[in-house]
């Protein structure tokens, strides 16, 4: 999914770069409001987690394996703004340190895999969650459906970019059907794994799942003699 240099022409790449910078500026602004700089170590570790999870192979069929893209997973776990920032940092580091994804295509990759996947996927997550009852199972199902469709959304974004400034050769409809077809299959894997990961985190630390924050009882901290257990002086 990482677009290399030369796939999409320079004007489209630069335009995508401008969209990416604008989108990330909004994310930086939003996270600065709600998180402040104290949570930067957490964001860095979340980005390291997204990177590691992309190296984790899961079985697909008959011994072949795939890996997670993690855009929607990050958005459901830490929220769409911080999730987008983390995935974008992963893409930046992959392009600079590992030559993975073209430097001129960094804007395109951030748009497809961070902005479109995380925000589009998170919007779908909220929509599906609203249609289902207020339970943990609904959060799991919603994150799975959203993650699967998020991958398809990213492939649609790629198709739009190809139509605007692709290297040509094949017609847009051929590329669209091939890309979307392949990514529907990838999406099934992505959705299944994302749902399973979210359910695993919900089982032990439900407080760490941003997308399930509405399910947690609102607890107040009470300090005083009334909370002292019986028999303790």
């Amino acid at each position: 999914m990482h677009i290399p240099d030369g796939f999409i022409d320079a004007p489209t790449s630069l335009a995508a770069g401008a969209v990416a910078v604008t989108g990330l500026a909004v994310c930086v602004h939003k996270t600065a409001d709600s998180l402040e700089e104290r949570d930067i170590p957490l964001a860095g570790l979340t980005a390291a987690f997204v990177f590691a999870v992309q190296m984790l192979n899961f079985p697909v069929a008959s011994g072949t394996s795939g890996h997670l893209l993690g855009g929607v997973l990050a958005a459901v776990l830490v929220g769409p703004y911080l999730g987008t920032l983390c995935v974008s940092v992963v893409l930046l580091v992959q392009a600079l340190l590992f030559a993975d994804g073209g430097l001129s295509a960094l804007g395109l990759n951030v748009v497809n895999m961070a902005l479109v996947t995380s925000f589009g996927g998170y919007a779908l997550f909220l929509l599906v969650r609203r249609l289902l009852p207020r339970t943990r199972a609904s959060v799991v199902v919603a994150s799975g459906v959203a993650a699967g469709l998020g991958v398809v959304l990213a492939s649609l974004a790629f198709t739009v970019e190809y139509a605007l400034g692709g290297a040509g050769g094949a017609s847009v409809s051929t590329v669209a059907s091939a890309m979307v077809g392949v990514h529907v299959l990838i999406g099934i894997g992505e959705g299944t794994i994302t749902a399973l990961v979210v359910s695993a985190v919900l089982a032990t630390r439900p407080d760490l799942v941003h997308g399930a924050a509405h399910l947690l009882p609102h607890r107040r901290l009470v300090v005083g003699p009334r909370v002292a257990p019986e028999g303790v002086a």
Partner: protein, 254 residues
């Protein structure tokens, strides 16, 4: 892999290793943009770019074998380039018994040439710049502090997290874990969930450790210094040369 280097880094003391990171980053990005903007019909221009990258790699005393070995990163992307001549429309030619689209072949050549040059340029930059310097460079290039700070923590804990994932995989395998189908993926997913919780909790502990050492919410700058004017001039000479080639390529377009 030590904390200050990364998979593509090659230790050295060449002029390129010593150059200011912000100059190298800017020069690499500009060079790649020029390559991408060059019309693919101008075959000679891509030859000139390749000579330019090879000259810079020689200046950095990188062996061609190292460069070639690292170029294999690009292989998966070439699948799409191979697919274009087969499904492309328009005029067709016969190449060793296969009927291929001419437009598709040109598109595939463009992706191959530009993609390879882009990866080669990125490898030369990454091979001569350790991680802290790349972060200094990004900071000097006015990237928001939130992003460089997140990136800094990420690269510091990358090995810890990746190794943790690898240990969990070994633990699963040593208990006979060998899933072959998607519906057997629960154990892998549970590991990913555990990995997230451990990463997050490690983040909390790192934050507490920082607070107890006097962290007040603002990170110190990475200590990047401004580059001298002649350093910029040397670095920007590379994309400037490339831009000259690119302009000539547009001029003499057949």
């Amino acid at each position: 892999m030590a904390a200050h280097v990364h998979a593509l880094y090659v230790h050295g003391t060449s002029p390129l290793h010593r150059a200011a990171p912000q100059c190298k980053l800017a020069a690499t990005v500009l060079f790649v943009l020029v390559v991408v903007a060059t019309p693919r019909e101008a075959l000679w221009a891509f030859g000139a770019y390749a000579v330019l990258v090879a000259a810079v790699a020689a200046l950095a005393r990188l062996s061609p074998a190292v460069l070639a070995r690292r170029l294999v990163i690009e292989l998966p992307f070439l699948a799409f380039a191979v697919f274009l001549p087969m499904v492309g429309g328009g005029e067709r030619v016969d190449v060793v018994g296969l009927s291929l689209s001419v437009a598709g072949l040109w598109a595939a050549w463009g992706i191959l040439a530009k993609g390879t040059l882009g990866v080669a340029a990125a490898i030369v930059m990454a091979a001569t710049t350790p991680i802290p310097e790349i972060l200094h460079g990004l900071e000097r290039l006015r990237l928001p502090r939130v992003i460089t700070a997140i990136a800094g923590f990420m690269v510091r804990y990358l090995d810890v997290t990746v190794e943790e994932a690898r240990r969990m995989a070994i633990a699963r395998q040593s208990r006979g874990h060998d899933p072959r189908w998607l519906w057997q993926a629960r154990a892998t997913a549970a590991s990913a969930g555990t990995l997230f919780i451990r990463s997050f909790e490690r983040g909390e502990r790192v934050h507490l450790a920082m607070v107890s050492r006097g962290y007040d919410g603002t990170l110190p700058s990475f200590g990047a210094t401004a580059a001298a004017r002649d350093e910029w001039a040397w670095a920007l000479a590379v994309p400037a040369l490339a831009a000259t080639v690119g302009t000539l390529a547009w001029w003499w377009l057949p």
